[in-house]
Structures are given as structure tokens and as C-alpha cells.
Symmetry: C4
Subunit: 275 residues, 4 copies
């Protein structure tokens, strides 16, 4: 009985350090983790630059092993310090964490598994946990609320833009020759989106007078309709301004991993377990 308590106390301690950021140790852990994630992403980047990889291959590999070993320990610690390990393992972050950890082990069994290293970039999203520490969270959640509120309108807008691109792309395919780069309807649609969003690579560009005239129509259209999402989001932002923010902390339920509890909460709002 007593051993269980000690064990559970040790687990609780670990849970607090890894999953929360309210205690000094928790803060240090989170900052160290983010630093390591940034390092791991930079490693992946440097390995992709041929000249760097050729000159410093050994150093990069050593650092990669250090990162991998730390990530392995972290992954195991996350699994054992939580009450329902499978819930974490199957969560978005759980899967990202696993894929970020295994490529080096896999590379001895499977060729080309290095590709999985790219997934590490997703771990950067963990930095938003650090943001919680420095009060950035309130701003981020306001942004999120405004974007969520304008979701349907934005969806309708993007939908109209896509139909428009299909129609204009098809018309341009019929007008322009193959030489100008309009070799198929999908490619013409690609050009239309490049033009409508005012990116304008110039790898495909209309050559005929009629094609250039239609291109200007697409440009003016693209230039003008940017006003629509902007208007939508602005109105939503001005509405969000009035709403009061609930103060939350970084505690994380030991049972269901739910986050965003009120500062004065004593039970998880999701499963009712005491925090």
C-alpha cells in the first residue's frame, strides 16, 4: 500500500514536470525540450544541405543520436507518467512524438526511413506550450476564436474561389497554346490560382492578346476579392474584443490529458478527476 503511494507520488511528480509548466522544474523541462526540438529541426535542415552534410556528417550523426536518445527517454516518461498511456500514444502529439523519435532506429532496418525526420517540424508546435508561460496564450486563443467564428464564411469564400479557378483555368486552356505552358486543364488551373492569389511565378504566362486580356481580369479579380476574407476576419476580431477571457493555467489532467483548466479549478472539466 505504502509502496504504491510512493510510486504514485513519483509518477505524479514526473507528470507535473513533463505535462505542466506551473512549477520551476516544469518550466525548465519545457524550455529545454523546446530548445532540443529547435536543435533537432535545424539538424534535419543541415543534413539536407549537401555541402554541409559532406563536411560535417559525423558531427551531425552524433548530435542526431543525442537528440534521438533524449526523445526516446521523453517518450517513455510521457507514457509511464500518465494514467491512460494509450490515450496519449494515439493523440496527435503522441503520434508526432513517436515519429520524431524512431527514424534513426528504423534507418538500420529500412532504407529511406530518414524521410520521417521531416515530421519533426510538427514538434515545433509544442512551442505554444512555452507561449503559455509568457502570457501569449490569451492573444493566441483570441485569434483562434475569431478564426473559428469566421470559419464558415471563409469556407464559402475559398469554395467560390476554387470554382472560379476551375472555370477560368478551363477557358484559358482553350485560348492559350501549349507553347505558353498551358498544356492541360489542371496546369491551367494551377496558373489561375498562381495569378488569382497574386503570387505570379511567371513560369506559365499567357502569350495571346485574348489570353493576356483574360489574365488581367483574373488579376483585378484576385486583387479585389482579397477584401472579402479580410473584411470577414476584421469584423470577427472587433467582436472578439468585447468578450472576456477566462484565465487558465498550464495544468493538464492526469487522467484524460485535457488542458485549459480555470486557474481556480479543483476538478477536471472533462472527466471530473481531481487535479
Amino acid at each position: 500500500m505504502r509502496e504504491h503511494k510512493i510510486h504514485s507520488g513519483w509518477k505524479n511528480k514526473l507528470h507535473e514536470i513533463i505535462y505542466e509548466a506551473d512549477t520551476p522544474l516544469g518550466k525548465i523541462f519545457d524550455i529545454a525540450l523546446v530548445a532540443l526540438i529547435v536543435l533537432s529541426v535545424i539538424l534535419v535542415m543541415l543534413e539536407s544541405v549537401k555541402e554541409v552534410d559532406r563536411s560535417y556528417h559525423q558531427i551531425l550523426l552524433t548530435l542526431e543520436w543525442i537528440v534521438t536518445i533524449f526523445f526516446t527517454f521523453e517518450y517513455i516518461a510521457r507514457l509511464i507518467s500518465i494514467k491512460k498511456p494509450w490515450k496519449y500514444a494515439l493523440s496527435f502529439y503522441g503520434i508526432i512524438d513517436l515519429i520524431s523519435t524512431i527514424p534513426l532506429y528504423l534507418s538500420y532496418i529500412l532504407a529511406g526511413s530518414q524521410v520521417l525526420l521531416a515530421v519533426r517540424a510538427f514538434r515545433l508546435l509544442r512551442i505554444f506550450r512555452i507561449l503559455k508561460l509568457v502570457k501569449f496564450l490569451g492573444e493566441a486563443s483570441q485569434l483562434k476564436a475569431a478564426l473559428r467564428a469566421s470559419r464558415t464564411k471563409i469556407a464559402v469564400f475559398i469554395y467560390v474561389v476554387l470554382i472560379l479557378s476551375v472555370i477560368m483555368g478551363t477557358i484559358m486552356y482553350l485560348i492559350e497554346s501549349n507553347e505558353a505552358g498551358f498544356t492541360s486543364i489542371p496546369r491551367s488551373i494551377y496558373w489561375t490560382i498562381v495569378t488569382l492569389t497574386t503570387v505570379g511565378y511567371g513560369d506559365i504566362a499567357p502569350q495571346t492578346t485574348l489570353g493576356q486580356f483574360l489574365a488581367t481580369v483574373v488579376m483585378v479579380l484576385g486583387y479585389g476579392i482579397i477584401a472579402v476574407p479580410t473584411g470577414i476576419v476584421t469584423v470577427e476580431f472587433s467582436k472578439q474584443k468585447g468578450k472576456s477571457l477566462i484565465h487558465t493555467n498550464t495544468q493538464c489532467c492526469k487522467s484524460c490529458s485535457a488542458e485549459g483548466h480555470r486557474d481556480d479549478a479543483s476538478h477536471c472539466y472533462n472527466c471530473g478527476e481531481p487535479l
Copy 2:
């Protein structure tokens, strides 16, 4: 007399399925139709990709025939289930539906009639009928109302932009040589619009110092005046927010095809026929 009633009952049923989406059958029909339209558009796209067309020509042709036959039946059904068939046949959707259906038949008589297949992309607009089902309509109509309210202002804005493009294009033609791509005034105006809308292909670019200086003026201008349509639309959106939405359903008048009836309406707001 009774036969007429039965006949009329059968017609009414068909009308409800094809033109409305309030009944289960009507919903299924609309979803199936949109799926088929999307398929038909993808078919047109794939046919335009040379490699795909060469390898799978027979499969594509078969699918094209299936789509054409379904579209033919749908077109006939639309004609016979409505009281005033010519009204539908001459409406925007009626003409689009006809042109989307006939290219394959015409291809046996007329060479090059495949071009008409491009019109099918317009049928994608029918998807907005489906949107009605999932309550997207309210958002879409709010967008439409805001855009309609800012119509005149946007027109004045585009008008000023076009005059500006003609003036700047003419000046650039006088300054820049033929080598830089400014071979005629229309081409210079094309370049001005490409630059003003911040698309910037780079196929035509000023080479002289004076030309590059004027180009930066056009850029800064184009970068700055984007604020105008954005401001207009944003203000209109914030006004639309206050207005109440009338709840409409997808019923469609059997006599005049008018849509957007109030949920509690018993007569058509346009021609007075009972719904």
C-alpha cells in the same frame, strides 16, 4: 380528370425530387447530381492531360457516355416536371445544363465541339444548392448582401484603377524600349496591371533607370490602394452583422421557379401560386 390528377401527382413528385431538397429523396438526388457533376468535370480535366488520355482513352470515353446519358435524362426530367418548360430552358442554369449535355452527341456531327465540355465547370455552381442543406446558405447570402452593397464603390475603384493603368501603361511605353517587352501600348497596360495588382510575372520588366523608378511608383501605389476595396467591404460586413436573416427553405415555385421562399410561406412571393 382523375388521370390528370395522377399525372400531375407524378409530376409534382418529380418536381419535388429534382428542384427541391427538403425531402429525403430530394436530398439524395441533389447529392448524387453534385457527385456526378464533380466526376464530369474531373473527366474533362483528365482528357486534357495528353499522357492520361493516351493510356486510358477507352475508359474515359465510356465514363463520358455514362455521364452524358444521366445528364440527358436529368435535362428531360427537368423539362417535363415544370409547368413552364421554356422558362427553365432559357434560364442561366437551363442553358448551362443543355451545353453540358450535348458535346458528345455533337462530336459525331461537328468536329471540335468537345470545346463545349469546358462549360461543364459552370455546373459546379449547383453545389451551392447542396450548401443550402448544411446551413451554409445564411453565411453565403450575408457575403452576397455585403458585396452587393459595396458594388458601386468597388466599380468606381476598379474604374479609377483601369484609367490609371492606361495612363501609366502609355507612359511606360514611351520610356521603355521594345527589348524590355514593352512592344505596344496594350502590352504596356498589361504590364501595368500585372504590377499594380502585385502579381509580377517578370516576363516583361523595365530595364531603364527611369522605367524602374516609375515601376516602383506603380508598385507602391498598387500595394497601398488595395486598402480601398478592403476598407469598403469591411465596413459593409460590419453593417450586415446587425441585420436579421430570414429563414428560407429550398422549395422552388412550380410555376415560375422562384427560390428563397420563407419557411412559413404558403404562396410564391413572385407569382402568388400556392407552394
Copy 3:
């Protein structure tokens, strides 16, 4: 004495037709004039297209003579029907009108005077007189008022953008080699403005890693600060919404050419002459 009155009556009539658009004849004159201006601009455009000019030179020249003769008569009529001809002759529109008229006459004396034809594009601005007829004026003046109110802020903004471009351009010149196109500081500044305004021709593009890194900073900056003029103009627009519009007509003072009189005005607000 009586002759003077008749003469003056004939002059008044002409003034009403040419300078105002409230009478049927005045409307017809204005619409005909705009049609002719558009034709004259299209003529200048077509002459600049080599192939068209080669094939239809004689037709273009004939049309050019017709336009020139009409413009000549119009210019003389404008001069004699106004009380202070020099005031018109030295006004912005007066100078534009003169330069739009004379190039063909000058071409027999001076080679290269065709260049002046480009000035004709400015006559398109007269179309705004027509807009008065169709009630577009209120919208245009609201746009103008909002832009005038945000003038100082926009000036400060453009000023900061220019200083930023000079600084970033100078830095990029030091970092990037000549091969990449950064051959001098002015050219580097040109590149910075092309990038900052998100035009992005691609004729000059950074090649070094440090240069590309700084380029992304310029891009994100340019992408972000577009929000500033947009915010300024939007706020001004929302303020303009509340203001009431004064109804004006198209009458124009015979003495001082002032426009924008109130509908119920009996005297010119500028010089006090009866209208």
C-alpha cells in the same frame, strides 16, 4: 444692346451644353464626348501595335483626323462659351484638352510630336462627369473624403516604407554579388521595393544564403505591414459612413468654372455670380 443679349443667350446655351449635364442636350454632348475620348485612346493604342499600324495605317489616320477636328471644335467652343477663357485654358483639364488636340497638327512641323498623343489617356478622367449623371458621384466623393482624411497617415506610412527600402537595399547590395543582379544600390532598392510590395518579378533574386534569409525578412515584413494602410483606410471609411451627403448637381459657374454646387443654390459658392 439687344444683339449683345442674343449673343450672350447663344453663349449661355453653348455653356450649358458643354459644361453642364442637367439638360438633355448637355447629357447627349457629354456621352458623345466620352465615346469620342474612348475612341481616341483606342486609336493611340492601335497605332502603337506595329502589325495593326502596318495594315490599317490609312484608316487609322483618317479616324485620327476626324477625332482631331472634333476636339478642335470642342476646344474652341469651350473657350468662347466661358466668361474667362484663360482660366479654362490654364486649368488642368484645359491643358490636357489642348495637348490632346494638337499632336496631329504639330506632326507636320515637328517630328516625334506623336508622343503627345499619350496625354489623351488623361482625358478619360472626364468620364467622371458622366458618372455624375448616374449617381455614382456620391460614392466617389465618399471614397475621396475617406482617402483625404487618411492622407497624413498614409504619407507617414509610405515614408517609413521608403526609408526601410533604402536601408534594406543598401544592406542587400553589400551582401549580394553583381551576378545576382544587385549591381548598384539604386538597383538593390528597386529589388527591395519589388519584394516588399510582394510583386516579385524574379529578374533580380538573391543567391547567397544570407541574402535569401534577409529576403524572407523583407517579404514577411511587406506581407505584414500591408495591414497598416488597410487599417487606416478602413477606420476612415467607417467614420465617413455616418456623415450626410450634400446633394450637388453638375452645374458649373459661368464665371469661375467652380463645380459641385448644391442643388438649391442660386449663386456660385466661390465667386458669388448668379448661376
Copy 4:
């Protein structure tokens, strides 16, 4: 004692001329200084244009010496007319002023020190002192307040955009071949930012179908999320509108160099010294 007073009076006079712009002499000094700064920046630009430098090297060098000598005197005057010279010497403007002055002297000792001339562009920021004269300051400070208020939100936004760029860049690197220009992950990230900000150089462009499809996703995303900073800044601007502006003058504390004192202030708000 009396000599000290005269000396101090002479110093005070100099301080008023150099650091303030409320007296006629102070205004003349500031305008002359800005004119000289603009001239010095134009000189640096012209020297960078090879053809100009070759033809007019002697004239440019002479002008450079004149500017340098004036800047030297100005720098010394600034040092002796202020109570705490080191405070100025170590301030942002103090360092910029020093670096703008010394390159010509250094060029006799150190090769390549001409590079420091680029720092002069920063002196253009002094023009904002002139703006104070013409009441632009109120507008500028309103802009600054709005931008400061939206700082955190903009930071969160840019942060999300960067993470997104890293993720999308890594994915594009895996999909696209080296031939298309995606030679390493950092280069792919560079491409993603070029595309996301709708700059679109076209030096790197996806070639595969999947790559082009993902590119359109990046474009539409970039086109849409521009709405976020715009919305943020617009809302902040509309809030700033309500706030009252404190009228400040161009006086500058002789002791601590603090600026932005209230018009009716008699003591420095920063150190308490009498103004």
C-alpha cells in the same frame, strides 16, 4: 563664476539649436541637416553605380569630403552641448551619427571601410524630427500606438506562419526533385515563404503534379491569412481613434536627452531637471 554662466549660456544656445526645433534657428538647422543627410545618402548611392563613379569620381569625392566635415562638426557640437556626452554617444542615434561620419577618415587606414557608408541610410530616420514641425507627429504616434498594441498578436501570427513555412518547406523538399530548385530544406523553406507571402519570384517553382497541388494550397493559405494581421491592426486603429492625444513639443532634456515633453511641462518627466 560669470565666465561659467556665459559658457553655459553659449552651450544652452547650441543645445537649443541642435537638439530642439522650436526656435527659428533650430528649425533652419534641422532642415539643413536633413537636406545634407539626403544628399549624403544620394552620394553613397551614386558611388555604387559603376558608370557614374567612373565619370564623376572627383566630384563625388569632393562632395563626400564636404558632407564628412559637416557631419564631424555636427557630431562634436552634439557632444559638447549636452550635459552627459556619453549618454548621447552610446545612444542609437549617437552610434549611427558616428558611423556615418568616420568612413572617409578610416578609408586611409583600413581598406573596405567604405562599407560603413551604408549605415548612413539610417540617418534618414532623423527626418521624423522634421515631421514634428509640420504636425505629422500626432499621426505617427497614433500609428505607433496601434502597432504596439497589436504587437503580441502579430508576433503569434508571424510565429505560426514561420512554423507553417518550416513544415510545408520540408514536405516540398521531399516531393520535389533537385532540378526544380528544391536542393535543400532551407531553400525549400525560402520558396515556401516566397510563395506564402505572394511574392512569387519564379526562380524556384514546383514541377511535379503533387508539388504544384501543394503549392496552390500554400498560395490560397497565404492569400487568405493576410486577413489576420489586417484584422488585428484595423481593430487596434479603431480603438486608437477614441484616445486623446497629448500635445508635445520638440524640446529635449539637456540632462538625459528624453523627448516628447508636454507643451506646458517645466521639468523633464524622466529625470526632473528643469527644461
